[in-house]
């Protein structure tokens, strides 16, 4: 079991989660983060930290798509363990629907 990041993270990327994660299992894309499912220990610390409500336990139904995306991009994107500033317009994107279809980027972020 693991927690997963869904598309609510896209273009918000607040990164509060990386600071509290005890096991450094967040990986950074250009405009979102993902969790490495093999490194996450399911401690749940990150879930309430996310201002965008983008982190969910994979026991919730309908998350298969996001689990797959997290697993795939965690191996391609760089590890991030230190929080940086969120994008200046993060708040504008909070809660905007269909962010995956419109804005998902497979490009890596800068990482630590």
């Amino acid at each position: 079991m693991t927690f997963v990041v869904n598309d609510k993270c896209i273009k918000c990327k607040y990164m509060d989660c990386v600071e509290v994660c005890p096991v450094d299992c967040f990986y950074e894309g250009e405009n979102m983060l993902v969790i490495h499912p093999d490194e996450c220990i399911d401690c749940g610390v990150c879930e309430p930290e996310c201002p965008a409500d983008a982190i969910k336990p994979d026991t919730e139904p309908g998350l298969e798509k996001w689990l797959k995306l997290n697993a795939e991009y965690a191996t391609r994107w760089p590890n991030i363990t230190v929080k940086r500033d969120a994008p200046p317009d993060a708040k504008d994107w909070d809660g905007v629907p269909e962010k995956f279809q419109k804005f998902f980027s497979p490009e890596p972020g800068q990482g630590d």
């Binding site: 079991m1 693991t2 600071e19 096991v23 220990i41 399911d42 401690c43 610390v45």
Partner: protein, 139 residues
Amino acid sequence: MGPAIQSSAAIDRVSEEAIRRLVDEFYVKVRADAVLGPIFARAIPGDWGPHLATMRNFWSSVMLTSGRYKGNPVAVHGRVAGIEIDMFDRWLALFEETCNELLEPNLAETFRAKALRIAESLKLSLFYRPDRPWPRGAA
């Protein structure tokens, strides 16, 4: 296990001091345990000070979101010689016993539930194989 020992001094809120007592007393039990003792003695042959500090930091990070622990417990457990899946149940039983002795019931349950989830996650990471039934022994 007998009934939980509840004294009037039972800890009712999470603090660094509560975590220190819980961790220290838990590992006294672990080291004395017939099953877990030898495994931990092999993994930590010398000074236990650093391990206890690590585990206090870990629980501080998990219960107080302090960010004090940074590590990869999946990889660390993968390197432990002789580790077996049933040992996680033994670990959890001793942890629950310690929680019940030191903590007020609601707080004991909070720690226990957290430990259970983390243990399940570690078990999956270490022992799950896609071509075998899970939980082990199912199907």
